[in-house]
Symmetry: C2
Subunit: 352 residues, 2 copies
């Protein structure tokens, strides 16, 4: 079998920072065009390779080609069974697994669409995956999807939703020497921040996955001048929402939570929102992974899994490498982690 | 007697926005050079006129020549006994009184220094009064001082001090989906803001003047990214300090107040400070004003009174016009207010 750690090292040595992943996409496209059982499409810097075996079900295996900028770690280095280097965990280990499967599994038990896409590490407007959903939805149509983001071989099921709420508190300006003539909007933040800090996170369990919601202040801003009682303070709060409720429900609950200290004239605006995605572990294309003993946990962060869920495609995360070293100078991945993921997916694609 | 409302209107019609008060200073200088009992010095855009009668005591009467920018109110307009227009209250009414006294009181019972100075309405670096203290301290030397800032004819005694404290709270960054791995610095503001909002102001009475201290948040800032638990939050607080304690004492008291929620690694920095000034109402040059029935109250804001106090010169505010209309489009002053101040000061300079 291919040495997947060495194969990952070769991918690390091909620079592919966001918006400059074109040359890497060219190479991937070339490798896949040599595979007789795949139909390959290139769209922008995205490469999509599909089997067309007429199976009842189609599974997407998707991974992004790009990395964050180098941090003195752009050269791959193998020590024993560990590979160090930019993108080794996020997510060239996953890409190496997908490329190996694409080139070796000629008759999978479901049809497979391998999606290698651009620009995941930067603002959503550049996302290659969104570009495909928008411009070539036929290329990403499927019954279920697996993203190769680093999970160290665990199934990370679904993902939590995220919303950002911008809460504007009003007050009335006055000179700070006569503050009783005004009303301090910054002071009004006090009990609201105390309530947020004291929030006890919901921890619902769905399909055996325990999620953990969060409410976190992420920005605060206010002030007019050094001698003026401020008439506005703006708090931006990030809500992380488990998939047992909708984003609207979570936003309404937050609104009720701060209601004792807000009033008419204050602003409450949802400035950014992505729905949570359910775990989908009972889907017939995904359940065999669980049955085969792949360990399962909830995905707390937000990933492109949610993009698939938005399009009605159940999706999970499953890839080699530890997400906690992603974007770090000491990013690395182990042979064991890569091989476990390969074994799990190979089993899924070839099980009778 | 001169019509002081009309005289004030003439001064309003001479534009003198900060840093462009030179032509007005030229006129004032010319008027005063015609007065035989005055020695006139020009320094920058400051004009100083002194009697040199060899009296035991010397009193400064000081006022600034400049105004804030016009707000569609640069033309003087008299309706009945009210004058409307830019600077009518702050402080060309006071200047009209001082010019009248300078030109009519030829033998005051104390020596008098009339100080007409530039650039009070803008940053301290431009202050004409500070320029005089720095470069020509002989011109502003005195035993006591009266500033003609608008007090509607009240003696506003002394002034409160002011300090700005910059409190930096630290935390630890983490992804907002896993906030328990970090520590939210913005959340730490909650109890501190509650303590500040709940602060019960000290209200000491000195020489019959009741001061009212204040602690007010004036700026707040924090945040890293929409999905990051922030590791710093900065709160700037303005302390207003009565003259029965020093600025250092007030800052220490504030430090103790927030101590339950701050810790090593947080920042606590005094970024701006001006000491309070005592009421000085028992000074022999000022006491006669009180004895003559001029009403007295504490000065809560900070004025150039504190500059004199810093140089060991007891000072008070006393001028026509209401400070609450200063810097407003509908700025105005009444004949009664101007004449009361003139009468009080004329009495002071001529009492046996």
């Amino acid at each position: 079998m291919t040495d997947l750690l060495a194969a990952t090292a070769e991918l690390v040595d091909i620079a592919s920072p966001s918006l400059a992943e074109g040359p890497f996409a060219d190479l991937v496209e070339g490798w896949l065009r040599d595979v007789p059982w795949l139909t390959v499409d290139r769209h922008g810097d995205n490469v999509v390779a599909r089997t067309e075996l007429g199976r009842d079900q189609r599974l997407v295996l998707a991974g992004h080609l790009d990395t964050v900028p180098a941090n003195d770690n752009e050269v791959a280095r193998i020590e024993g069974d560990t590979l160090w280097g930019l993108g080794s965990a996020d997510m060239k280990g996953g890409l190496a697994v997908f490329l190996e499967l694409a080139r070796t599994v000629d008759a999978p038990t479901c049809d497979v669409t391998y999606v290698f896409y651009a620009a995941e590490e930067i603002a959503a407007e550049h996302s290659g995956l969104l570009q495909l959903f928008r411009e070539r939805p036929d290329l990403v149509a499927a019954d279920a999807a697996i993203l190769g983001e680093p999970t160290d071989g665990w199934i990370e099921a679904g993902c939590q939703g995220t919303a950002r709420v911008r809460l504007s508190l009003t007050g009335e300006r006055a000179h700070t020497a006569r503050p009783w003539k005004g009303r301090n909007a910054i002071h009004r933040l006090g009990p609201i921040l105390e309530a947020i800090a004291g929030y006890e996170a919901r921890e619902p369990t769905i399909d055996g996955c325990t999620y953990r919601e969060a409410i976190q202040a992420v920005f605060v801003e206010g002030g007019v001048a050094g001698n003026v009682v401020p008439d506005e303070a703006v708090l931006t709060v990030n809500l992380r929402i488990a998939p047992d409720r909708t984003l609207d429900e979570a936003v309404d609950a937050f609104r009720s939570m701060v209601a004792p200290w807000t009033e008419d004239g204050d602003g409450f605006e949802v400035v950014d929102r992505s729905e949570p995605a359910p775990p989908s572990l009972t889907h017939p294309l995904l359940a065999p992974l669980v049955e085969a003993g792949t360990p399962v946990r909830a995905k707390l962060g937000w990933t492109d899994v949610a993009r698939f869920a938005e399009h009605g495609i159940p999706a999970i995360n499953l890839g080699p490498g530890d997400s906690s070293v992603a974007h770090m100078r000491d990013e690395h991945v182990t042979r064991d982690s890569i091989e476990r993921v390969h074994a799990a997916l190979h089993g899924l694609l070839t099980a009778s």
